[in-house]
């Protein structure tokens, strides 16, 4: 594996960030916006020593984030300004349009939803601070960076009256002790979805179901997720490597080899639109998020029965289980509305509306996995796509990677996406 490009010393220190701001100011002859903030956060004690910059939360390493000095908590008891605009930044099709409309009507403001294709793109746009998004939906694999770059506003829990609806284990999660910055949004697992009318193999009965994604019978008839970490973790799991956040170069090399082999022999489609493409018959087999699996019946044409849909997740629970978060960005102009929005997400009825639209489970007490199937919200043949609380005990989350490993993983993914 070729080494990552060496960085010269001046660009590895905090001085780089300050220097960038100075350069901006010098060139433009104007004071760079946020210069004071950046210098303050660099020199101030909010992130402490350089090693704290790489604080990586994990289930066995829970983290309580320091409260931001530069971005104070908002005062309690405020109401959102009528007529203002709330800027939400999220994946496409990840919030119900009905919920957004109801929210607008209820509080008399405008919700402007902007979408991104992947977290990398989102982070780049947020880093520019020009766009002043209020609410963002990351996962915990970028939480450390968001906090270190001082992009988040600490939550004022007085506004989060619905927090009691949450599953207890997510009220005080390991990635954010005290829920300083985040609320959980949805929970999901990552597995394999397929259509029995296009894939005769009983994937669930295989000794290593991940192998079906390399089964050349299905070449040109499958897809994997266009998300570098999720896709690469799947390769690790296929090989029985359960540390899906490994930094071992040998493991990364193995992933590279098998990904390239898959690309060569299987001609996979690389996308995040499985929830529309598989029902449309574009392919019959894919790596899939559980929420997309639950959403499949909605997009299935009338003449195809929902019985053909299947989803597999490891029976022993040792697969990828994650949850997405919602955070308030410091750059937003409407933090009060943002807090209210977050609180609404935790409301049972709203969560039900969002779940009906997106298929992704809300981690609320009212939505027990058993009731979802019993109430007919999820067909029986997709019951494996429902995430149970015990899955969090056995499941393996995708964590933030240290910078060097992150670059190495991205390099492999870049090579994969460059085509052969």
């Amino acid at each position: 594996m070729s080494g990552e490009p060496a960085r010269r010393a001046p660009f590895t220190g905090r001085s780089a960030v300050a220097r960038r701001s100075l350069l901006r100011a010098a060139v433009a002859g104007l004071a760079a916006p946020g210069l004071a903030t950046l210098l303050e956060s660099c020199g101030g004690g909010s992130t402490g020593s350089p090693s704290a910059r790489e604080t990586i939360p994990a289930p066995d390493n829970p983290v309580r984030w320091p409260t931001s000095q530069a971005n104070p908590m908002i005062k309690s008891g405020l109401t959102p300004e009528r007529g203002s605009t709330l800027r939400v930044y999220n994946y496409a099709d990840y919030l119900s349009p009905r919920f957004l409309r109801d929210f607008e009507d209820k509080y008399g403001l405008d919700v402007r939803l902007s979408t991104f294709n992947d977290a990398d793109e989102a982070l780049t746009k947020i880093a520019s601070k020009d766009l002043a998004f209020d609410v963002y939906f990351p996962s915990y694999d970028s939480l450390g960076r968001l906090v270190a770059a001082d992009l988040l506003r600490p939550l004022n829990h007085d506004y989060l009256t619905n927090a009691g609806n949450l599953w207890p284990r997510l009220r005080d999660p390991w990635y954010d002790r005290g829920a300083r910055y985040t609320i959980p949004y949805t929970i999901y697992s990552t597995g394999i979805g397929w259509r029995t009318d296009m894939v005769p193999t009983d994937v669930a009965a295989m000794s290593n179901p991940y192998d079906v994604l390399w089964d050349t019978h299905y070449a040109g008839n499958m897809a994997i997720l266009d998300d570098w970490h999720t896709a690469m973790a799947m390769v690790l799991l296929r090989n029985g490597i359960f540390d899906i956040n490994t930094t071992d170069p040998k493991d990364i090399a193995l992933v590279r080899d098998q990904l390239l082999q898959m690309r060569r022999t299987m001609k996979p489609r690389v996308t995040i639109s499985m929830y529309t493409e598989m029902p449309a018959g574009q392919y019959g087999l894919c790596q899939m998020w559980s929420g997309d699996a639950i959403n499949l019946p909605y997009y299935l044409p009338n003449k195809v029965s929902t019985d053909v849909l299947r989803f597999w997740f490891p029976e022993d629970g040792r697969g990828e289980v994650d949850n997405d978060l919602a955070v308030v960005l410091a750059q937003g102009k409407n933090p009060v509305a943002a807090h209210v929005f977050l609180n609404e997400l935790l409301d049972d009825k709203v969560a039900g509306t969002n779940f009906a639209f997106t298929g992704y489970q809300p981690p609320l007490l009212k939505f027990t996995p058993d009731s979802l199937v019993a109430d007919g919200l999820v067909p029986q043949n997709l019951a494996t796509a429902v995430v149970r609380e015990k899955d969090f005990d056995t499941g393996i989350p995708l964590l933030q990677l240290p910078a060097a490993a992150d670059a190495a993983y991205h390099q492999v993914w870049q090579e994969f996406k460059a085509g052969g």
């Binding site: 496409a92 402007r112 020009d130």
Partner: protein, 291 residues
């Protein structure tokens, strides 16, 4: 009867082969668009199966029609606004530059000429990436959003009026100006009253072309877009087409199609009016930038 061989050898026979090719090309070129426009009237959610006629995606559906879905109609209005703004900036700048470069000699204008021609054929992604870098690392009026998009588009489109107007200038020549000056007009008046008047068709043609090109632009406006309120129709289509599109997307593009059709037809009619009296068919050459 001369027979088939005679028919084949006849130098003045009708070119049926070419006609068939042309007709086939037109069908291939325009039919998919008509089908897409047709499906915008689909009663169901499918974009491939006809489920009945309905205006639901235009204004009927209370959540997802173009009328009710803010992200869709904002894309339309933003696209048209960009078109108007960019055309209004590009045409004066470009026409003035064409006039100046045509008459001014020296290394600087020669270099500028080269830059104009290069920007005419350069892949758009180069300009888009360079301006994205400027927007993200420098503090200038060029920011992500409308300002960046307008500035980027003007830069990219500037070559259009310059090329078209210069081509026209070559055909016009100097005689009229010099006659005006001989009759006592000052040089700037000669330009203003005589030359510009004669350039009106070319200016109009370039305005129409720039407008049409701007509302269709994708690469520059995508990289320089801010939040969803600055996403024009092309970016909206790209983002939504890769997720879960509804026929509302077809409706949006059909509306844009109708609008640009109106603009082009108006431009063409105005152009016809302005070029009345000139040699037949020569007027349209100006649209190709080659006249």
């Amino acid at each position: 009867m001369r027979g088939v061989a005679g028919w084949w050898r006849d130098p003045w026979r009708r070119p049926w082969g070419l006609l068939v090719v042309t007709v086939l090309y037109l069908v291939w070129s325009l039919l998919p668009v008509l089908v897409a426009a047709l499906f915008s009237f689909n009663a169901g959610r499918s974009r491939t199966t006809w489920q009945g006629f309905s205006m639901r995606w235009y204004y009927g559906d209370p959540l997802r029609s173009v009328w009710h879905d803010a992200s869709l109609h904002t894309a339309l209005t933003h696209t048209l606004w960009l078109g108007v703004l960019v055309t209004a900036l590009t045409i004066p700048l470009g026409v003035a530059m064409a006039l100046g470069l045509d008459r001014w000699r020296g290394p600087l204008p020669a270099g500028a000429n080269l830059a104009v021609l290069v920007s005419f054929v350069l892949p758009e992604i180069l300009i888009a990436v360079s301006l994205l870098f400027v927007a993200t690392v420098l503090t200038t009026p060029l920011r992500l959003g409308t300002s960046g998009q307008v500035i980027g588009l003007v830069t990219y489109q500037l070559s259009y009026p310059v090329v078209i107007v210069r081509a026209r200038l070559l055909t016009i020549g100097r005689d009229y100006e010099e006659a005006a000056v001989d009759l006592g007009a000052s040089p700037s008046r000669a330009v203003g009253r005589v030359l510009l008047r004669m350039l009106v068709p070319a200016i109009f043609a370039s305005a129409v072309l720039v407008f049409a090109d701007v509302i269709d632009d994708f690469v520059i406006v995508r990289y320089l877009s801010g939040d969803s309120s600055t996403e024009p129709v092309s970016v909206k289509v790209y983002n939504t087409a890769r997720a879960a599109p509804t026929p509302a997307l077809n409706a949006l593009t059909t509306l844009l199609l109708v609008t640009s059709l109106l603009v082009v037809v108006l431009g063409y009619l105005a152009h016809r009016r302005f070029t009345r009296g000139e040699k037949a068919g020569g007027g349209l050459d100006v649209f190709t930038g080659e006249a």
